[in-house]
Amino acid sequence: MSHHIVEVRNLRHVYPDGTVALRDVSFRITHGESVAIIGANGAGKSTLLLHLNGFLTPTAGEIRIGDYPLTKATLPEIRRTVGMVFQDPDDQLFMPTVYDDVAFGPLNLGLSGTDVEQRVKDALEKVGAGHLQEKPPYNLSGGEKKRVAIATVLSMSPDILVMDEPTDGLDPHARRQLMALLREFSHTRIFTSHDLDMVLELCSRVIILHEGEVRGDGPPLEIFRNDELLARCRLEKPLSMQGCPVCGGKVS
Amino acid sequence: MHMADALLSPAVGGAMWAASAGTIAYCARKVRTDLADSRVPLMGVLGAFIFAAQMINFSIPATGSSGHLGGGLLLSVLLGPYAAFLTIASVLVIQALFFADGGLLALGCNIFNLGFFPAFIAYPFVYRQLVGAHQTRARMTMAAIAAAVTGLQLGAFGVVLETVASGQSSLPFSTFVVMMQPIHLAIGVVEGFVTAAVVSFVYRARPELVPSSPGACSAGSRPVRGVLLAFLAMAVLTGGMVSWFASKDPDGLEWAIGKVTGKGELPGPTQGIHGTLAEVQRKTSFLPDYSFRKSGETGKEGAQPAGQGKDKGESRVGTSVSGVLGACITLAVALLVGFLLKKRHQSA
């Protein structure tokens, strides 16, 4: 299943106004991995994710998804492979009803009526939003919007799921639901987050980005135990790894 | 100023619908073939932006009153005439359906008055020409004010013409012009000033969003001094001169229009098109409203013997009373039907 591989080599990105958002980023993510990209505000996480789907073009460096380099010619195929969930679900839900929104992708793939219907039903079922089907997106709560936004991507059956801050703005219950959902997804997952406890629970690997460079890359426990690295990158330990302020106990 | 269904005749409303629908179709084709896909969400979101911007009021210096952005010219500057026209039209559709601004038939007039004039006249022939190749703040402000004034003067004049041509209002043409044009002169100056403020803010932050080369706008790519001057003259004429002239010497104005239309005098509501239409209407309706005294009869009647006049008058009183009474009854029946339908609906 080599087409689930994501490889970034010496990626550099300079915005038109001269901001160097990514200096030199390299990593390779293989099939089925669940990877968190963490870093302080402005570290370049969103900029990095936007490259994985070809929305931003590298100033220098290369991106390979599966066996293909990301070029204009491979772009449509790659966009089908990589499902991207944006930070603000309002940017992602633009159709009159939830149903239309989830059906937007499958219809663009040229699927027929019953196939589309099946996909929409499945995707909404997966995120527990089947009952929202006929609602207009602006009447949904923040958590509902997020779930539907994920459904719009799931309906495309992507091989790689990329999410920018998936738990941003969710209440504890919705956050739990979302984590269960992510755990179920068996393909490659890449997401950015400031929710380090979720990272600890869900990920097999953490990449630390700081000032446009990779500063750490490894299993979460290993990364989060490195106090000096975290401090240098303006990060903190997940709460569950800090001493419990109430009982004084420590998690090993 | 939004035109309203209630002031329109079907002929005027239908003609303006056709004009606006045709322009929409043309612009849709242009936008499809000429513009990038990324303009699809942009136009839509900018339409919503116009609503948001209209919510925010500002105070007009030295007057104590407040105003808000109209947006037609701003959209033209940002999107070019075709996409701007579609965007303005879409805003007006929402206003007609949700805010009862105007109505469905008046939509054609409103799209034309508030969309066509700013996007296809004021922007290419005034704004683009005055801004020129080197966009400076002062030039831009001046161009925006001139263009906004032109657009609004033409739009207001459109409202006047449509209203007068429809014949529902009894406002004489000259009075109406005097009412509308000067107000819109002021509104236009404010609109231009505010448009310039927004455009120059955007220009400083992201210059690439404000197309500055005249080539960006195909409608204005042939700078014709003469056409520009003609339109400027027209704006000034409608804005200042006409109203002054009309208030001072209404007969002069009517004479001028009579010259233009080739008729000795302006057709009044009982003559000309409306007279003809009324005549057709009288003939087609098989229960004509006898209770309405036709003008012209009045004079004759006074001279008639009292008895005869009284007789006629009485029956007229009778029919109009019965008309009013009948209206009340049908109203009651209509409401009752509604009530019953609702009742049945709720029990079902």
Partner: protein, 269 residues
């Protein structure tokens, strides 16, 4: 447009009405849009001084409100806000048109007042019809209908996008305005400040449009819009459209008010 804030709340409410599930709601939107157009054109085709023949036309909005189970008080309130322009212009009629056209006893009614009353009546009917149409069809439904009648696709998509983002952007706008108010200590907004505030909102809007475009591309957008079109113009729709249109045309040529009135009073016209 003075209190657009309140208007937007209203807007949300009106929009929610369309989620109702009555037989009227379920009709193909085209039938409702066309019937409403026939209605509006018939209503405005009456002569300047005609008031009473317009009254029976109320049956259409009233029946739609009842069948569509719309809240009566709300619809009446919306109609009461009538387009002010029509009334402002209409109120000049009594001033310029003083010829007495109708005598009721000693009371003489001038043409101006008659035509003004006619304008008010037209406003009620046309505005009512538009509001009721949205209430029983919903904006996306109206768009779909117009598109299938011949409105260009580009414009239909434009309308849907605009509609989708109205709330998002007006929320953003009012948050910015609130933030400014809190810091400006009661000072009024000058046009220059307005320029940068609204300019800022515009830039954010533009960025949002770019992100939406990305989200569209991510889901295979190639410039073609595919939407569901599962409605059908069947027998019920035909019956609805023809039934109402026939009634409107009959009411157009038959002064029902007059007829009923003369039946009751025994005075023949």
């Amino acid at each position: 447009m003075a209190s657009i804030d309140g208007a937007l709340l209203d807007f949300k409410r009106l929009d929610r009405l369309a989620t109702g599930d009555t037989a009227i709601h379920r009709l193909d939107p085209r039938a409702k849009v066309l019937a409403t157009l026939v209605f509006v054109v018939t209503v405005v085709s009456f002569g300047k001084y005609e008031v009473t023949p317009l009254v029976p036309f109320l049956i259409f909005p009233v029946a739609m409100v009842a069948l569509g189970n719309l809240p009566v008080a709300y619809v009446i309130k919306k109609i009461a806000l009538l387009c002010p322009f029509a009334l402002v212009v209409g109120i000049f009629n009594p001033i310029f048109d003083r010829e007495v056209l109708v005598q009721i006893g000693s009371l003489g009614i001038t043409g101006g007042w008659l035509s003004f009353a006619s304008i008010v009546m037209r406003s009620i009917l046309t505005v009512g019809a538009a509001i009721v149409l949205v209430g029983v069809t919903g904006f996306p439904g109206v768009c779909l209908a117009l598109e299938r009648i011949g409105m260009p696709r580009v414009f239909a998509v434009q309308l849907l996008f605009l509609y989708r983002y109205i709330f998002v952007l007006t929320d953003e706008g009012s948050r910015m305005e609130r933030a400014r108010k809190l810091r400006s200590l009661g000072k009024k907004m000058e046009p220059g400040i307005f320029g940068s505030l609204v300019g800022h909102l515009l830039l954010r809007t533009w960025q949002r449009a770019e992100r939406i475009h990305m989200a569209m591309l991510a889901r295979g957008f190639t410039g073609e819009f595919h939407t569901r079109r599962d409605t059908r113009f069947g027998g019920r729709e035909l019956l609805f459209l023809l039934g109402w249109s026939t009634l409107f045309i009959i009411l157009r040529f038959l002064n029902l008010s007059q007829l009923v009135g003369s039946l009751v009073t025994g005075i023949s016209p």
